[in-house]
Symmetry: C2
Subunit: 256 residues, 2 copies
């Protein structure tokens, strides 16, 4: 039987240890193609490059073929990979392993998860993986068996239409991982702050900082699962409609 | 009675005719503060600036105070405005008027709508406005009464929690606008293509292009409303969970 074609991307850049680990794991399962950003693209959300051109560069990082670094965002990487490298849709798209959590509200800012969402928009079975450790030298190997399991599940069973998976992994040893829990996205946000500093030319600049605030006590959320040493899997969709608000808005007076 | 505080932003940049028209309309209703990108930020989605600093510059474009151009993305503008300019949450956030449609799937790529979504995350009543005309000199005045009406409705009635509004306006004369229709997001996507060209140094580059494809025949969608000369209003939320997929995924075998 022919091996499945697996597209790998991320938002930390093509040389980040997270993606190198994901590539290594995926090579056990299928024919791997890598199209990933040539530099860090964290926090790029679902950004695409419309006003300028994109570059693709064939690279060889660890002795394997079929790897390309791209000058654009994670979503650009997915679109370019389908149109210019694969010339067809892959059997699986995996994004990550992100250095840091993409649970709950973080999904909206995440380039890693936006790449997976773009896969879903393109009807490709897609999964984003994130490890709850921002460090460059985080240990990505502890969850290896679970990542393989999820990828094989997706290849065998498929994912419902217009859906992808947001997988977050606690940064703990394999022996302490309690298993995989299917969850909903917790209701949380960031209490933002900006550090204000003065540059060498006496002009102010601002640097985003903040504290993550989970407002959701539910035990069916990704935050609860991660806190309790489970790997969280949230099925993710991209219908932004607040369906329950439609009847309320129909009561407004729109006469002008 | 004190006038409401209205924050105005966009993704086409602080000098774009779309935002200048929106500012002018909002000055009839409230005390307006403008924090908008210093350059075009179309297609930036929900990107935020995390790896570098941001700049804010006080500007005076048409003789009014309280305007700031920002070096970041539309979402950066919202976060910075709340934290560093207003020092409190505004009574209303409006984003736009975008030069071009943000209906259906376009919402996910749109900086204009991401600014409104960030407002919703911050519990600010928020609305994104877009006109279905990409031209710099598009006529933003035809829908003025409807824009005022929607802003006043929001200020008087509020918007349900965790929700903002995505307003798209057909590019037709006032007399031909049939009214406002509350809709759901149509199921649509872009059939992407990349134009490949060779640069003066003989290296290839790629430029995104594509054709919009609406796969949704429903008469309750934003695409239907716009095609039939209505202004579409979609209530928008940011819970990405595909709730209906949870029970399906619970049948998978996650033993490792």
């Amino acid at each position: 039987m022919e091996k499945p074609i697996i597209l790998v991307t991320n938002d930390d850049g093509i040389t980040a240890p997270g993606i190198r680990n994901l590539i290594r794991i995926m090579r056990k399962i299928g024919n791997v193609y890598v199209v990933a950003p040539d530099k860090p693209q964290s926090g790029m959300g679902h950004a695409i490059t419309v006003a300028g051109p994109l570059r693709l560069e064939k690279v060889n990082i660890d002795g394997h073929d079929n790897e390309y670094s791209c000058s654009g965002t994670p979503v650009d990487c997915v679109k370019l990979a389908i149109n210019k490298i694969l010339h067809r849709k892959p059997d699986l798209l995996v994004s990550g392993i992100n250095h840091g959590s993409n649970s709950s509200i973080n999904i909206i800012y995440s380039g890693t998860m936006s790449a997976a969402l773009e896969g879903a928009i393109e009807n490709i079975p897609s999964v984003g993986f994130s490890l709850l450790n921002f460090a460059h030298d985080a240990d990505f190997s502890q969850a290896e068996k679970f990542i393989e399991n999820i990828a094989n599940n997706v290849l065998q069973n498929g994912i419902p239409k217009d859906t992808c998976l947001n997988v977050n992994i606690p940064a703990i040893p394999f022996s302490e991982i309690k298993g995989i829990k299917i969850c909903r996205q917790a209701t949380a946000n960031w209490d933002d702050d900006y550090i204000e500093r003065i540059d060498p030319h006496k002009k102010p600049y601002y640097w985003l900082t903040g504290v993550f605030a989970n407002h959701d006590a539910g035990e069916d959320t990704d935050e609860w699962a991660l806190k309790n040493n489970f790997i969280s899997v949230v099925p993710v969709q991209y219908d932004f409609t607040a369906h329950q608000a439609i009847s309320y808005l129909n009561n407004w007076n729109f006469d002008v």
